[in-house]
Amino acid sequence: MLGDLGTATLAAGLLGATLAALLWLRVALLAAPARPARAATTLTVLAAAAACAVLETALLRHDFSVRYVAENGGRHVSVPDTVTSLWSALDGSLLLWSLVLCGYAALLARRRHPPRLHAYAMAVVSVVATFFFALSALAANPFRDVHPVPIDGPGPNPLLQQHPAMAVHPPLLYAGYLGLVVPFALALAAPLAGDQGRGWLRLARPWTLAAWTALTAGIGLGAWWSYAVLGWGGYWVWDPVENASLLPWLTATAFLHTARVGGTRHARWNAVLACASFVLVLLGTFLTRSGAIASVHAFTESPLGPLLLGLVLLAVLAATLLAGRRDVAPAETPAPPLLSRATAVLVNGVLLVTIAATVLIGTVAPLLTEPLTGERVSVGPGYYHRTAVPLAVAVLLLAGVAPALRRAGDRAGVRRLLVPAAAALATVAAVGLSSRPGLPALTAFGAAAFTLTGLAAELGSAPRRRLRAVRLAAVLAHAGLALVAVGVAGSSAYGQVTERTVRVGETLRVADVSARLVSVDRSTTGGRMVVRARLAVTGDGTSRTVTPGLWYDPARDTAVTVPRIDTGPWRDTYLTLLAVAADGGSATVRLAVNPLVGVLWCGGALMAAGGLLAFGGSLRRRRRGPAPPARPATRVEVAA
């Protein structure tokens, strides 16, 4: 019953999105009224919302005749976990994906941009929406019925049931990924819209900022989840799925910067960045959802692969044909001198794109080597440590240089860099003499000190009332980046770990922290076997009890470690229970001391806050700001 209703909503969505694409194209080509096109877009978003609502209802009602519920629902699962299991597996998360995409389409449809540019951009977004509805309806329909109807389901993957970040991480990530469809659509629409296309960069900015902020927060929450749940004590392993989220973030960051500082000077470069960001989103979707690449958290084999690969190729082709065309109007502004903020930002953009390229190569290399050489390989973290990490340090350094070069050709700017440079050298000397963190960490500390000092000097020198939201946002985001660098460098350079089997009463030690195994307790709750090790942890002059656990979930025949983290001001004590002896007399415990991880989370939060502030600023400016570009030739006025 619910299944049929769900399938009907998918059909309605597919129909609505197709109609919307055609109608918006008609608006663009024939300057037809936009009202029907807007209505089709509204129909599409309603269909997507209905599809999600139907699946959610089926999950909450435990309607196991619906395939997705039979595979991912369960009567023993708590209500919040049932709600979030909408996006805990492939087919359901694809519905959420379509809903977010259509949400962006509906928002963009309400804007009053220059009509032809707007209509072409809407047509592009609608085509993308059509594709994802087709994917849901034809290849990954979660509503297909199951015979015979099972009495209970296994519940979502236990790994996804134990952390609050899992509730918001996927929706945020999707909001970030799909927000990038708007700059992509505008970049494609601009060459088609002729004169009206000139202002697309300015129009794309708030969308990109919103997407960037959501993506930053989503990546940060994902790292936090993997740190708090997976039990090996790390937050980033250069896993293909993680890389897939980092790639569009890198190009979107470059786009935000060059579009603002370079302005219209590098029109084609900006168009390429806007297109690349969304193409990388699609490529990441292909990599994670097709089963093409095995990863820690990839969805397994699915029939979506060829379809998604087709969409990636289509997007690349469209981007090459449209955005690759020669500029209609070459840049008229005079070239900035070599020593200017524009140059620094441009170089940083090139560096960010280079990082993205190296990460992309590392991610797809295993895909390509097998058909080419017949060898199955995996690219280790060492590759990324040699390529992405030094480049990232260079990016951080330049991020410290650029704001100091306020005006073009400003020689005083170089002088302004002396204090940060001295601070950086002093930091490197002090850290290098007091400990041996290794060259990458040492340079990261130096670059962070450089950037942070520069930002502090900027905050100190600017009169309070003149510090606009945009500048403050940049300061926050750059400070966040520097803190992330400190957190990453510190936790990887000074982290210590030990892993041992201890009997009750014995003690593990690492650095100045010791953990004594007090007891091993077993219990059964809600059809799940739980083993907990009680450990008395001593360090920093205090003593407390920490109880990492191990769950065994018979429904899925999997065991999950539940690590416990004792968070201090400067370091985390991280305990994982890996195994217990059958008699309960001993346990295998992993004890890690991770310094400065808290700084990393703070940095991520600061970056997201900076993005949010800049987004707010760009909205406010648009509301009172400059009128839309001159000559609104044929104004298509429709009540939104």
Binding site: A294, V377, G380
Partner: protein, 131 residues
């Protein structure tokens, strides 16, 4: 604005530098996948670090202090694995596993990293072995 030929040269230099960077970084950081059959057929290639996937042979798992010793099988070929460190709780006889390490001179595979494969819809999965 930099002149066009100069810009092309700059792009070429950047691309060359990027290529060198990638090629240099890939050296030594690639890990090859082998099946137990391939390891037995060409022991020399498994002397460097490789990943081997297969099924943990039922009845073959023994614990020797901090070591776990078991046989890994795939398509009728078996190798003896000596794993340092504690295998995850989900490590079980009859299930798939991927080990990372190298083949020692005595023909025993010394692994320091072990990943268990799950049959889950979604979750920590590792590459299914070749073949």
């Amino acid at each position: 604005m930099i002149r066009r030929p100069a810009r092309l040269a700059l792009v070429a230099v950047l691309l060359a530098a990027g290529g060198l960077l990638v090629a240099g970084a890939l050296r030594g950081t690639l890990t090859y996948y082998r099946t137990p059959g391939e390891v037995l057929a060409d022991p020399g290639a498994a002397r460097e670090r490789v990943r081997v996937g297969g099924e943990v042979v039922p009845g073959s798992v023994r614990r020797e202090g901090d070591l776990v010793v078991f046989r890994l099988a795939e398509a009728g070929h078996e190798i003896l694995v000596r794993q340092r460190g504690v295998p995850p709780e989900t490590f079980r006889e009859g299930e798939g596993a991927v080990v990372e390490g190298s083949l020692a001179a005595d023909g025993v595979f010394r692994a320091d990293h072990l990943v268990v494969r799950h049959g889950n819809e979604y979750g920590p999965t590792e590459p299914p072995d070749a073949g």
